[in-house]
Amino acid sequence: MFDLDIWREIFQSINKNKTRAILTGFTVVFAIMLFTILFGIANGLENTFKKLFLRTADNAITLYTGTTSKPYRGLQIGRRIFLNNEDLDFIKSEFGSQIEYISGTLTRNYNLRNAKKKGDFTVMGVGPDYQYSEKAEIIDGRFINLKDYNNKDKILVIGRLVEDDLFERESAVSKYIDLEGVQYKVVGVFSDNGGDSQERMVYAPTTTIQKLYTGNKKLDRIVITYNPKLTVDQALVLVDKITLKLKNKYNIAPNDQRALRTGNRILTEKKRLDNISSSLGILIPIIGFGTLIAGILGISNIMIFIVKERTKEIGIRKALGASPKSIVLIILLESIVITTFTGYIGLLIGVGALQAIGSSLERYFITDPGVNLSIVFSATIVLIFAGTIAGFLPAKKASKIKPIIALRNG
């Protein structure tokens, strides 16, 4: 019985009752279109968040210090802890290959001037490795190198916007800048995709800042870029180990959260991304599921209506020898065929709409909205499933109609 004939029956029934099919189809088109657009927009939101948070090297760990908040080894609380240049070597010798780049930083605000202009800028003492941790891109000249660092040379690497401000149209490389009465030579200009504030930074060797302004070897922060081969979990273990070693070195209680802190981007960003994705991850299926349920209910209703409309036909078919099973089959298959076909139309409209939206919604944090193949595929399965569910109860009901009742209501 399950042969070409049954499909002929179904397509004839759909074809000859177009209004009915369009009515059902419209609900499905709408549900699936909504479903697709929602999914696409959710993907767009996720894309935006990924882009926002992955601007600086995503394998960077930052160490900060503060005052102790717990007594330890006979030492009182409230002790100020400082990291210094030796800690860089200490960490390197302890963790070796797990660490790719390491550099200490010192941040101060200074007034910078040259012959023509002046301005207040943030000057950051950094090591040669810092370029990689910050993902700063040299667009002219070079970055601070080891020789500058060891010789405590008076050189600067300035952000693109600093060059714009102080040198206007001219190239800054090899020109001099006055920093609190000391002449520094500009050796490079960088750009940074982290935004304007990053491109308004000025980098100098940490050692130079220490020698000329602070007079000691203390650091504000240590920025470490761990070996990218480490997994996130391994990296988190590494962060724990580094902090424990340093806490031991500085007599800080292991559970003291204030004296030594880690701002590690992987952890916070991963957490943030996870939070956003998981809230999206909860919200979107709920909305999507809701849309689908609404769609299924809609189709079910229409199928019930269709069965009512076809009552007499079903009665005739039964009088002519149709088994209940064959009645279920034609109603169900019709529902599935309509859902699947019109579902695809909905999907196409949805995808088309997403493409039309394209980049026009970037200011609402939606980047490259779209659905991938696996979603299209699962949507198809869901559709067939939905069509089956939506059609089943009405079909079952139809198969139970007594032919005599059906024929009397002629």
Binding site: Q12, S13, K16, G315, R317, L320, G321, I404, G410
Partner: protein
């Protein structure tokens, strides 16, 4: 062919029930042509529907072609209807989106016959009722008489042993009615057993036997001389 003993049927109406058939005894032999008559509401259609397995009796015995018809599953009933019975209704009951040929072929589809074969056979029966030229027309494009002839062709298509007709001429004018009766008589001449409900005396007299129902029982059952429809046209 058909043996009915002490058949009872009542319909529930609210809390009470309406006793429609109160012990029907009827026996019909192969090749008979029986008219069932009676006033409106006397239970003619009810009896015919039970015979047609479209409805079930409450009690009594019904044997069709040697087979005891009792507690049939829907599936079995469908199978028997398809194999033994052909229906002709007052309101034709054609499927409105199928053309004449497809309507006639439908019982053959449910017999599992191949598409080509059933179209051939359906065409053969349409020819018999003189509607070959109308084979590809929808019911709404045909007259009442033509539709009833399509319905007759459909009832014949599956080659049933028993033809059941509930007021087959009820919706037709006199000329057309006689035309239809001519077909039915012809079928009977060829050996088909026919049971027909009718209100009209002249139609009833075109059968070979009249059964009169009143108050749920058969009050009269007599053989008659058949009036041929042909000479009346």
């Amino acid at each position: 062919m058909l043996e009915i003993k002490e058949l009872h049927k009542s319909y529930p109406i609210g809390d009470s029930s309406l006793h429609v058939l109160k012990g029907i005894n009827l026996s019909v032999k192969q090749g008979e042509m029986v008219a069932i008559m009676g006033s409106s509401g006397s239970g003619k259609s009810t009896l015919l529907n039970i015979i047609g397995m479209l409805d079930q009796a409450d009690s009594g015995e019904y044997i069709l072609d040697g087979l005891l018809i009792k507690n049939l599953t829907e599936k079995k009933a469908a199978l028997y209807r398809n194999k033994f019975l052909g229906f002709i209704f007052q309101s034709f009951n054609l499927i409105n989106y199928k053309n004449a040929l497809e309507n006639v072929a439908l019982p053959l589809y449910y017999q599992g016959m191949k598409r080509k074969d059933r179209q051939e056979l359906a065409m053969f029966h349409l020819e018999k009722v003189g509607l070959v030229d109308w084979a590809h027309h929808l019911p709404k494009e045909l007259s009442g008489g033509q539709n009833q002839r399509v319905a007759i062709a459909r009832a014949l298509a599956a080659n049933p042993k028993l033809l059941l007709a509930d007021e087959p001429t009820g919706a037709l004018d006199m000329n057309t009615s006689y035309e239809i009766m001519e077909f039915i008589q012809q079928l009977n001449d060829e050996g088909k057993t026919i049971l027909m409900v009718t209100h009209e005396d002249d139609i009833a007299h075109m059968c070979k036997r009249i059964v009169r129902l009143r108050d749920g029982v058969i009050m009269e059952d007599s053989k008659i001389d058949q009036v041929r429809a042909k000479k009346n046209v």
